[in-house]
């Protein structure tokens, strides 16, 4: 409880310098309100424009937004939610989770062992340079068309940014912090848990963020090839059957999923790396 109270110590000192009379709480609320307005303004404007521009559209490829949203409700909030959306999301999360475990574990090993990193780097750069999408048909050959194949596709693309960022973050550990651990006998697993991993946290988070967007793309692409359900499968089905409004509704859903994932990611990151944000802000204040 004392920590949050103390957090205000520096800003309060700063406010006494100004002649501002509004309370800090009210100003934070006002600032938050303005931020929400700014964030929502453009999307709302675009939707309204789309709605108006497409209202009387007779163009086969660009149906009215109202029609698309009607299909959106019928399909994705209807029985396709359970049959396609949920399986897709499960694949995405499974693939992402496996990538996190593999990527962080291998990244820590590479980051801590210089020889290992130098030996593995050329191979890693090569494997990473292969667009994961080209592996989709290859993986389908040996892993079949089931869930495990789709998950493997996601892992094949997600693991690299996590691995390389973790390795880089671990390797860049501060020399003074390393000495501090050594002199206080903090070694082995404790060192990993209390120093190496948290210190690499911001960089690992950057890798996770990249991996998440790659994962979403690969989820869709994996399902566009030999699949029997899922979002990618559905969108391709609609496209092949010239169900254009339905196809557009699927694309909108993908956008929404991507957006929600990014918001959730930001929230988790803010909680887990709050110290990093705070430290950077205090460094900025003190010049």
């Amino acid at each position: 409880m004392t920590a949050p109270a103390y957090r205000h110590a520096v800003p309060e000192e700063a406010t006494t310098m100004t002649t501002s009379t509004t309370s800090p709480a009210r100003r934070t609320a006002a600032r938050a309100g303005r931020r929400v307005l700014l964030a929502l303004g453009l999307p709302v404007l675009l939707v309204v424009l789309w709605w108006i521009a497409s209202a009387n559209s007779t163009n086969y490829y660009f149906p009215p937004l109202s029609t698309i949203l009607d299909w959106f409700r019928q399909l994705w909030l209807g029985n396709k939610f359970g049959s396609d959306v949920v399986p897709s999301l499960i694949r995405l999360f499974a693939g992402f989770a496996i990538s996190v475990v593999l990527g962080v574990a291998a990244g820590v090993a590479l980051g801590l062992t210089d020889a290992l990193r130098r030996g593995a780097e050329p191979v890693l750069e090569f494997v990473r340079a292969i667009p994961p999408t080209v592996l989709v048909p290859v993986i389908a050959i040996f892993a079949g068309i089931g869930d495990s194949s789709k998950i493997l596709v996601i892992v094949s693309g997600c693991v690299w940014p996590i691995l390389l960022n973790t390795a880089e973050g671990v390797r860049a550990a501060d020399e003074v912090m390393v000495d501090t651990c050594r002199s206080f006998g903090i070694r082995g697993f404790a060192r990993l848990r209390h120093m190496v991993l948290p210190a690499a946290g911001p960089q690992i988070a950057a890798g996770l963020r990249q991996a998440l967007s790659i994962g979403l793309i690969l989820m869709v692409i994996g399902e566009m090839f030999a699949a029997t359900n899922g979002l990618g499968f559905s969108i391709v089905q609609f496209q092949r059957t010239f169900a254009i409004p339905q196809m557009w509704s699927g694309i909108i859903l993908l956008g929404v999923i991507g957006f929600v994932l990014s918001v959730v990611f930001n929230l988790v990151e803010k909680r887990a790396l709050g110290w990093y944000q705070g430290q950077r802000e205090s460094q900025k204040r003190n010049g």
Partner: protein, 277 residues
């Protein structure tokens, strides 16, 4: 047996030499350093910048392997960081873990020592009280001022209950007033806890004000130019102590040593025994 224990110095450095070699370049950082520090002593090591002070301290702390020579802590050769030593680094911002609260920062080394929880809590609370930070135990280091952060680092070292406390220019990055406060804090901790303290600094006034003894280092390759006993009273005060004739005399003497070191001359004052008041 008792004899060896009582006369045994806390730290003994014998013919320490450190040479850095990298891609054909050979830099002799420490030439030949020999000294020992008695149990409970407060010794300051002062030298011009580039005198290999940090290299010397890292060798003492077991963080660097000397090229030749030995460091002994209570008669045992130091080959890695010994459990009986704690280090306070100059860069407090990089030495404290920003993802841990003040209390967690102090607790972690104690946990590594395998101390039971109540013991850890007691040591942490006592150390924080000793440095005057009992009320910020749940804050994060970056929420504190630089001086307070260095107090946390000192508390962490003190809670570790070291036999020897090593401090590497700990106040070089804080403002003058904070620096004076921290100097008095370190003095009073030394008086109350009796921890053998080795304090590295480039500041002559600081060395004389804090130490019971000042070791003056030469420029690199380092050796010890002078070993100056500081005869100032145990109770010191920023204003009165610093304005005494004894202080000025010691200050001048160390200063001259450093100047000689910079000029590369061997000090001639080596034989003079400091008897300051």
């Amino acid at each position: 047996m008792e004899d060896t224990i009582t006369t045994e110095p806390m730290v003994r450095v014998t013919r320490l030499k450190k040479v850095y070699e990298s891609s054909g370049r050979r830099v002799e950082a420490i030439g030949d350093v020999t000294f020992s520090v008695a149990r409970g002593e407060f010794a300051c090591i002062v030298g011009p910048s580039g005198a290999g002070k940090t290299t010397l301290l890292k060798c003492l702390a077991g963080l660097l392997q000397p090229t030749s020579g030995t460091v002994e802590l209570e008669g045992t050769p130091v080959t890695g960081p010994p459990p009986g030593m704690a280090v306070v680094f100059q860069e407090y911002g990089r030495s404290l873990f920003p993802w841990k609260t003040v209390q967690q920062n102090i607790d972690l080394p104690l946990r590594q020592k395998g101390l039971p929880r109540p013991e850890r809590e007691r040591l942490t609370a006592e150390a924080l009280t000793a440095v005057g930070l009992a009320d910020v135990s749940r804050a994060y280091p970056w929420q504190l001022s630089g001086g307070m952060q260095q107090r946390v680092a000192i508390a962490r070292a003190v809670a570790y209950e070291p036999h020897v406390l090593l401090m590497d220019e700990p106040f070089a990055a804080v403002d003058a007033q904070t620096r004076a406060e921290l100097e008095d804090l370190v003095r009073s901790l030394w008086k109350t806890l009796g921890i053998t303290t080795l304090f590295v600094t480039h500041d002559i006034d600081e060395a004389v004000y804090l130490g019971e003894r000042v070791l003056v280092l030469s420029a690199s390759p380092t050796h010890i130019l002078e070993d100056v006993p500081v005869g100032l009273p145990v109770d010191r005060d920023q204003v009165t102590t610093r304005s005494t004739a004894g202080f000025a005399e010691l200050r001048a003497r160390v200063h001259r040593g450093i100047q000689d070191a910079k000029a590369g001359r061997q000090s001639t004052a080596q034989s003079i025994v400091g008897t300051a008041q």
